[in-house]
Symmetry: C2
Subunit: 285 residues, 2 copies
């Protein structure tokens, strides 16, 4: 028997992964959660039929959403992570000695439960004593926070379903208020190649730009995401992701990574012209 | 009726593209050639079932295989292009006023004939008076050339079938001899993510490194190639792709591009750690 999982990257493009064995399936109040064993990618988590995480390439996403801001904003102590029930972002954050407290806010407790069972290497840090797991709506959680976090990471699903509120202007405005003066917000920022992804990218960019003084977009090669070219947003009240990068500081921490390095940090902000144009032109996005 | 083209990116991963209409199919003496009309990518050329070119993203490949070397080796006059029967590489080269002569060497005349019919916007420059089209084996063509070309572009298919000889040490050695002292060779260099591609990448790198004084690998996001993360090789007898980049010179040429820019030029050589490690470690690949 052959079993294949298929995700539509657009109406006209399909990405299919051979499945050794479906390991788990659940309809939570928020979304359908599936875990598969695959020969190419190891275990794979999908939410509502979209690939979220595979064991083979999750290091790329988690390196880029964590180490990029951490090499710019030094000595981060307090972090808010929204989404990220799979634990990968928390795992990377916990490698920093400076971090004293992490609030993880995940709307769907089932994601955490399932990932604890099937991805123990990703979720182990959820038990770190510095981490508080809050099962609630990130939109609501951040609403009344003021000047509290050095770093906010929005590790959301796509901007429909449970992730939708995490792409609104109201949410970004509340994040702005929740950040310290030299705080940084990073978010998953969709993609530029397929039309629906590109529209979501533009909307996120417009809104973040209207709220934050600095907003830049950076890229990574993530093979299991649509087009393989995935984007992240870097927003701050003043810190610049290139000028304020302290490569020497970051390298002195001795954090070993499989994707990120400080040369690549500089490189990942150099976007292709068609992406710059789509984002609204100019070298300053 | 639904019609889908499928390419296996590995034994366990498939990439499928919806077809509006198959436009052409031919078994040449060298390979199977197909052209499809697709709603997502426009027209698409496949050779032996592998996507070579689509109208939607061919600009990425052609920008990166041409403008990267042209911004380092200035005032290129004589160019040898091996493969590239689709004409896209020649089109980009012909935008440079310095170029006086281009030898295109394509083993399979049928590819040129088919592309002239179905991709006229790519093949138009094949009629440029500076271009000589040679229908022959690139391996043989380059064998007795000495100190003749400022730039050699190896725009090959994958290292099996007709493209196989273009990944051998003998071929790279002959290219070395065919280049002027400050000449540059650029080639399509496979990919790092799926195992078979990664093996081909390593072999090409090992061989180029054993022949050329300088060999560096750079990357682009090409959505229709396996993993979306595609690599190119830059080899020379001394010119360095970063230190010898002359951004001001290149920008003064006024060549408008949709992917390449000189910031991205610097960025594209900043590889992820796992690629550096796979290539044999160290910052100097």
């Amino acid at each position: 028997m052959e079993l294949w999982f298929t995700e539509n990257h657009s109406e006209n493009v399909r990405f299919s992964v051979r499945i050794d064995k479906p390991l788990y399936s659940e309809q939570s109040p928020y979304q359908r959660i599936d875990v598969f064993e695959t020969p190419e990618f190891g275990r794979m988590l999908t939410l509502d039929g979209y690939v979220m995480i595979t064991q083979k390439d999750e290091f790329i996403y988690h390196d880029m959403i964590v180490h990029v801001p951490m090499a710019v904003k030094k000595n981060v102590e307090k972090v808010l992570v929204i989404g990220a029930g799979d634990g990968g972002t928390i795992r990377e954050l916990c490698r920093y000695g400076s971090v004293k407290h992490i609030d993880l806010v995940e709307i769907d407790g089932a994601v955490i439960r399932v990932c604890r069972e099937f991805f123990p290497e990703m979720t182990a840090s959820l038990d770190d004593e510095r981490v508080t797991v809050n099962i609630e709506d990130g939109l609501r959680f951040v609403r009344h926070k003021k000047n509290e976090y050095d770093l906010i990471i929005v590790d959301s699903t796509d901007p429909f379903g449970p992730g939708e509120g995490l792409f609104t202007r109201e949410f970004y405005g509340n994040c702005y208020n929740a950040l310290t003066d030299d705080g940084v917000l990073v978010n998953q920022h969709e993609s530029a190649f397929y039309e629906n992804d590109a529209k979501a990218m533009c909307r996120a960019h417009e809104r973040l730009r209207s709220v934050f003084e600095v907003h830049r977009v950076y890229q990574a090669h993530i093979p299991t995401y649509a087009s393989g070219h995935w984007l992240f947003g870097f927003a701050s009240k003043g810190l610049d992701p290139i000028k304020d990068l302290d490569a020497e500081y970051w390298e002195s921490l001795g954090i070993k990574t499989r994707y990120y390095n400080t040369e690549l940090h500089r490189g990942c902000f150099a976007l292709p012209n068609y992406v710059i144009e789509r984002l609204g032109g100019g070298k300053e996005q």
